[in-house]
Symmetry: C2
Subunit: 247 residues, 2 copies
C-alpha cells in the first residue's frame, strides 16, 4: 500500500537535508506564521472532503502543504483541531445565509434547518467520520462541550430569533430554541448517512417534522404548556444542566 521501508537501523543520524520548496504565498499584511497556518488548514480541509477524514493521514496533510510531519503538529496540536476548525468555519458561514427574519415561523425554521443541511452536504463524507464525536458529551470537540460553547450559543440564538413571531414568553422561546437545536443535531445524524439524491429523504423528514411540530407551538403558550416548560427547566436544572438565554 505504501512504500516499503528499510529495517529501521536504530541509530542512523544523517545530517539534515535541504527542505523542498513549496510556494505558500502570503496575503495582505499576514505574518509568515499565519500564512503557513492558513495554507495548512486549506489543504487539510480539501483532503478531508476528497478522501474523508479517516483516509487522510497527517503525513498526507503535511506533504500537501509542503511541510514536515512535525511542522504540521507545530501549528495544530492534533488532527481533531483541524476538524474543529472546519466546524467553526461552517457555523460562521450559515449564520450569514440563514438569519433572515421574513416569512412565517414555519418558513423561517424551515430555512434554518434546510440551510444547515445544504451547508454540510459537501462535507457529508467528512462529517460521517466525526459526527460520532459531536454527540459525545465528554469529547472536547463535541457539540456539548464547553470548548464549543460559543459556536453552540450562536446556533441556538438563530433558532430563538426564528421564533420571534410566535409571541411566546422569552423563557419559553429559550427552551424551545434549545430543543430545536437538538432536533437539528438529530437531523444531521440522519442526513450524514442519507444516500438518496440530494439528501431528499432527510429534507422531506425536516418538512414533515416541522409540519407536525410548528402547529403545536401555540400550545406552549397556554397555561398547560407553560407548566410543562417550567417542569422541563426544573428537571434539567436538578440534573445540573443549565439552559442559558440567548444573548
Amino acid at each position: 500500500m505504501t512504500a516499503r521501508r528499510r529495517p529501521a537501523t536504530a541509530t542512523s543520524r544523517k545530517p539534515r537535508r535541504a527542505p523542498r520548496p513549496i510556494r505558500r504565498e502570503p496575503r495582505d499584511g499576514e505574518r509568515k506564521r499565519d500564512t503557513t497556518r492558513r495554507v495548512l488548514l486549506e489543504r487539510a480541509l480539501a483532503l478531508f472532503q476528497n478522501r474523508g477524514v479517516e483516509a487522510t493521514t497527517m503525513r498526507d496533510i503535511a506533504r500537501a502543504a509542503g511541510l514536515s510531519l512535525g511542522a504540521a503538529y507545530y501549528y495544530f496540536p492534533s488532527k481533531e483541531a483541524l476538524v474543529f476548525a472546519f466546524y467553526e468555519e461552517n457555523q460562521a458561514a450559515i449564520e450569514l445565509t440563514a438569519a433572515r427574519a421574513d416569512g412565517t415561523v414555519r418558513e423561517r425554521l424551515g430555512r434554518v434547518l434546510h440551510a444547515k443541511l445544504d451547508s454540510i452536504r459537501p462535507h457529508r463524507a467528512m462529517l460521517a467520520a466525526i459526527i460520532q464525536r459531536l454527540v459525545d458529551p465528554g469529547d472536547p470537540l463535541g457539540a456539548f462541550s464547553t470548548q464549543t460553547g460559543a459556536v453552540r450559543q450562536r446556533a441556538i440564538a438563530i433558532f430563538a430569533r426564528a421564533l420571534e413571531g410566535t409571541g411566546l414568553p422569552p423563557e419559553t422561546v429559550t427552551v424551545t430554541a434549545h430543543a430545536l437545536w437538538l432536533l437539528q443535531l438529530a437531523c444531521m445524524l440522519v442526513f450524514v448517512h442519507d444516500n438518496s439524491p440530494d439528501g431528499a429523504r432527510t429534507h422531506g423528514l425536516v418538512d414533515d417534522g416541522l409540519d407536525l411540530l410548528v402547529p403545536l407551538l401555540p400550545l406552549l403558550g397556554t397555561p398547560a404548556g407553560q407548566a410543562i416548560c417550567e417542569r422541563v427547566i426544573g428537571a434539567l436544572g436538578r440534573a445540573g444542566m443549565v439552559i442559558a438565554p440567548a444573548p
Copy 2:
C-alpha cells in the same frame, strides 16, 4: 503512561520461545476453543472496566489471557468485537431483571429505565469510550445497525410490554416503545458522564421525565393523538425508516 521500551534493535530474529503456561481451566463439556475464547473475553471485559477501553491495548488483553497478540485476533476479529460482546451480555442480563409485569405503567417504565442505568453503572468508564459509536448509524456496532438489530428489537419489546396496561392500540404501542428506546439511549448518554454519587442526577432526570411524560400517554389514545402517530409513522416511512412491531 506505559513502560518505555528499548531502542528496538531492528534485526533480532530469535527462534521461537516456549509459550508461557497460563491456566485456562475448561468448564463442563466445553471445547478447548470455547474455553480460550471465554477466558479471553472475561479478561478483556475486566481490563475494560478497570482502565477503560481506550487505555486497554490488545497486547494487554492477550497477555492477561496468556496468549500472543495474533492469537487474540484469531478469536476476535477486532477490539470492537470484544466491546460488542459486552453489549450483548449486558442486554441479556437486563432482560432477566427488568421484565416483571406488575405495578402501574409508571412503575414498570421506571423499573426498566432505572435497571438499565444500574446495569451499566459498573461499566460507565467503558461505555464512555464507545457510546459515541453506539449513536452512529453508520457504525456496524452502533445501536442502529442491522448487526445489532436483534438486541435492539429485544430492548424495544421490553418497553412494549411495559406499556401493555395503557389500553393503547398495538400500533401506537409500537411507536411509543421505539420512542422510549430512543429516550433510554439519551439517558445513557447523560448517565455515562454523570459524576454525581451513584449517578443520582440521571436517575432523578429519569423520574422527572417519566412524571412528565406518562400522564400524557393517554392523549395518544385520543383521535388527535392517533393522528399524530399516523403522521409520525408516515414521515418515518417516507424517510426510509421502518417501525417494525415487536414480535
